[in-house]
């Protein structure tokens, strides 16, 4: 029974996600996409219930929307990070990019106090996309592994921020700029939540488009995708560009929420990767859904909130993240069937007589 589920899910998440979803009815397509990330939704539900038990007032509108507002930057970053990871890379520069975004915005307002917020936002997103473009070109054209390319970019950006600000950014962010990250759009619903929903919809549409399919195909097997006519370099570069732009949007949210800070984005790069991994997206690319990655971000934030309510020291958050990443990736990479066989052979010949429910799911599938 277990084996059957696994196989079905595997089909949904793998090839179907790339080529088959288009043939399904909208309802089935929706269900299929949900199943693709099923574990993270279960996890999210469990964590939310735990949070509700810990703090019964949590689901009242004000605290709940405050929680979503705080989660928004990570959700946006997870969507951007997903694009890079699913195409087979990593983007470690998003945290530094958020910091740079906030600091540069403050400096911009320092120099041009009357600047209109739409202009500043547009410049910020363009700047983020540009940094992403550099990341992408360094990765694809110069063939520097994305891990190193974006780590280098992190150091470059952090050094530049420190040099520019001397560790203490000048200026403040005016209220109209901060509205998106801090104020509500209508009723108790914050702008940040609206923005997250919009980005979620855009991301889903994007992943359903040709671009999305070629992105996943590239991450799955770049060589095969290239032979099939995918412009691998362009697709991968574009993923970095979009991740950079997402980081700029996150900077708008973080800056709006907190104001000027020289450590606005600290730790966000790793949180975003953790969120994506938690969403069931395979490191190395080729599988996973963007909605699940965003749900992973929400799960991570829920977990942090739970830890806070339980009185766990803030410092433990990074430890928990480390455990999540290693555990999720290790378990995801584990060859269950092989392990089972080896284990069975090792433990006792008696066990060999027992039926093996998950004989070899891959064998069944292919």
């Amino acid at each position: 029974m277990k084996a059957a589920t696994v196989t079905a899910d595997e089909r949904e998440r793998g090839d179907v996600a790339v080529t088959g979803i288009g043939r399904l009815t909208p309802t089935r397509r929706f269900l299929a996409s949900l199943r693709a990330g099923a574990p993270v939704y279960v996890l999210l539900a469990v964590l939310l219930v735990a949070l509700g038990v810990e703090d019964p007032t949590f689901f009242e509108p004000d605290p709940f929307f405050a929680f979503l507002k705080r989660s928004a930057p990570l959700i946006v970053l997870a969507a951007g990070q997903y694009l890079v990871i699913v195409s087979g890379g990593y983007d470690l520069s998003v945290g530094a990019l958020v910091t740079v975004g906030v600091v540069v915005t403050a400096e911009t307002y320092h120099a041009f106090p009357g600047a209109h917020w739409t202009v500043v936002v547009a410049l910020l997103v363009a700047g983020g996309a540009f940094v992403g473009l550099v990341n992408g070109l360094v990765t694809t054209v110069l063939r520097v592994p994305s891990f190193i390319a974006t780590l280098g970019m992190t150091l470059i950006l952090e050094g530049a921020v420190f040099y520019w600000t001397q560790g203490s950014p000048r200026g403040i962010l005016p209220d109209d700029f901060r509205t998106i990250g801090r104020n509500t759009a209508f009723g108790p619903v914050p702008w940040a939540v609206v923005l997250c929903l919009v980005i979620g919809v855009v991301a889903v549409v994007l992943m359903r488009s040709d671009f999305g399919r070629t992105l996943i195909a590239t991450g799955d097997n770049a060589r095969a995708a290239g032979l099939a006519g995918v412009r691998v370099l362009r697709v991968r570069t574009l993923a970095f560009v979009l991740s950079g732009a997402a980081a700029a949007v996150a900077a708008i949210l973080v800056g709006g929420f907190s104001g000027v800070s020289a450590q606005a984005g600290r730790g966000y790069e790793f949180e975003a990767i953790t969120a994506v991994v938690l969403g069931g997206v395979a490191l190395g690319g080729g599988s996973g859904s963007v909605v699940a990655a965003m749900a992973g971000a929400l799960s991570l934030q829920t977990l942090f909130t739970l830890l806070n309510l339980r009185g766990v020291a803030k410092a433990m958050e990074t430890t928990v993240q480390g455990v999540i990443v290693i555990a999720a990736v290790a378990l995801g990479a584990l060859d269950w069937a092989g392990t089972r066989r080896r284990l069975t052979a090792y433990v006792s010949p008696l066990v060999r007589h027992l039926p093996l429910p998950s004989r070899n799911p891959r064998g069944e599938q292919r």
């Binding site: 403040i172 450590q263 830890l307 309510l309 433990m316 928990v320 995801g332």
Partner: protein, 407 residues
């Protein structure tokens, strides 16, 4: 074999993660009693004072008593120039041995400009140096918050023919040997943070950390009902000035029957402060008072209460423009003890006194005013930037207000 895509494995991973986080919950809540940040396990109200017993080395009763007395003392010197005033100068130093003719080169080894208070201060000292024609050259080296850089900065400045050396040490103990070595070559003036040697000709600072911490805590004692929950926000551990503030603040809050539910470090960063305060509100339901060891991030703390839909409780800030403005605009219950940045003017004045052979106090104590709701509005300076420190004493200096970012 290709990579696996088994949702069930991820589910197992997720389950493991939840288990792991639960066990870390437990691990922490058992140790919460001795942790500096008492946990908030249900029904287990945090007991203040069990934590950070290590702060006793930062509490010296005699120093505390002296600062308390100095807070009340009448300063000597011109009333309109507090940076030239001195409180209870107990020992005047004869400086005839340092007397020499100008023009002078005054050198300054600065710890860092890593916060807005220090940025305001640096402008003060530069402007003050500019007002004295007998100072031909004013050289500043910035250690960027690094002890090793400041040690080499001091060595360099002491060896290059400066007439006098001003030092604002990055840390107390580590910089002491470097200052000692410089004392043998040229007259040294230390200000702001101290060193553990009395070789500098004079040490300039305001009344001190105990008085600062005490002022805020006593305000909260009068404004918060007994048993009220206090959130204490500190920048970072280990700096004597800041440790003294908390050592005094903690004692008074506890003696006043207030419940210090959380003591958190913010790095002086707005984003971190807002997160810390939001978490504390979430964890404790309500916070009845906020004590801060520095006011850089007081506005972020105020915002966290607003965004959580809570009334802003009594809060201690500092003389930063944006805090004073928010205080007035939102009619907060607040107080602003200050660590006046006009103290950056004094080292130049002291250096010239020393080079002219005039006596200076061994320990030059400056007045340390407090901004209350009564005198607040006089410190709100229209046109000055939000991060400007009002107690700069810079209004009469050339280049004000443009050099300080004002209009």
């Amino acid at each position: 074999m290709k990579r696996r895509r088994l949702p069930v494995t991820v589910l197992v991973a997720a389950a493991l993660v939840v288990t792991a986080s639960c066990s870390s919950d437990k691990a922490d809540s058992t140790s919460a009693t001795k942790a500096p940040v008492p946990g908030a396990a249900p029904g287990n109200s945090a007991s203040p004072g069990k934590g950070d017993s290590g702060d006793s080395k930062f509490f010296v009763q005699a120093d505390y008593d002296r600062q308390s007395a100095l807070l009340q003392a009448t300063p000597q010197g011109p009333a309109d120039k507090p940076w030239e005033q001195m409180l209870d100068p107990q020992q005047m130093v004869d400086t005839t041995q340092y007397k020499k003719d100008g023009p002078y080169e005054i050198c300054f080894s600065n710890a860092s400009v890593a916060n807005n208070w220090r940025q305001t201060g640096l402008k003060n000292i530069q402007a003050e140096a500019g007002t004295h024609p007998e100072i031909a050259k004013f050289t500043v080296l910035d250690a960027q918050g690094k002890d090793d850089k400041q040690i080499s900065d001091i060595q360099e400045l002491a060896g290059k023919g400066c007439s006098a050396l001003i030092v604002s040490p990055n840390t107390t103990a580590t910089l002491t040997p470097a200052v000692k070595a410089a004392c043998g070559k040229i007259p040294v003036i230390v200000f702001d943070r101290g060193v553990t040697t009395d070789c500098p000709v004079t040490f300039i600072n305001p009344v001190g950390g105990y008085a600062f911490g005490r002022t805020g805590a006593e305000f909260l004692k009068t404004k918060v009902k007994p048993g009220g929950k206090i959130l204490a926000l500190r920048i970072l551990p280990g700096v004597d000035v800041l440790e003294n503030r908390w050592a005094a603040g903690k004692r008074i809050l506890e003696q006043g029957g207030l419940d210090v539910v959380d003591v958190k470090f913010t790095d002086g960063d707005t984003a971190k402060t807002k997160a810390v305060v939001s978490d504390a509100i979430q964890r404790h339901g309500t916070i009845d008072g906020v004590w801060m060891d520095a006011g850089d991030t007081a506005v972020a703390a105020v915002e966290a209460f607003e965004d959580a839909g809570k009334k802003v409780p009594p809060i201690t800030g500092e003389d930063q423009q944006q805090f004073l403005e928010v205080w007035k605009k939102k009619n907060l219950t607040a107080i602003a003890p200050t660590y006046p940045s006009y103290q950056w003017r004094t080292p130049i004045i002291a250096a010239l006194k020393i080079l002219k052979g005039e006596p200076v106090p061994k320990e030059w104590k400056l007045p340390q005013p407090t901004i209350t709701v009564e005198n607040r509005d006089q410190y709100i300076k229209p046109g000055m930037p939000p991060l400007h420190y009002a107690m700069c004493g810079c209004e009469t200096l050339p280049g004000y207000p443009q050099k300080w970012g004002g209009k």
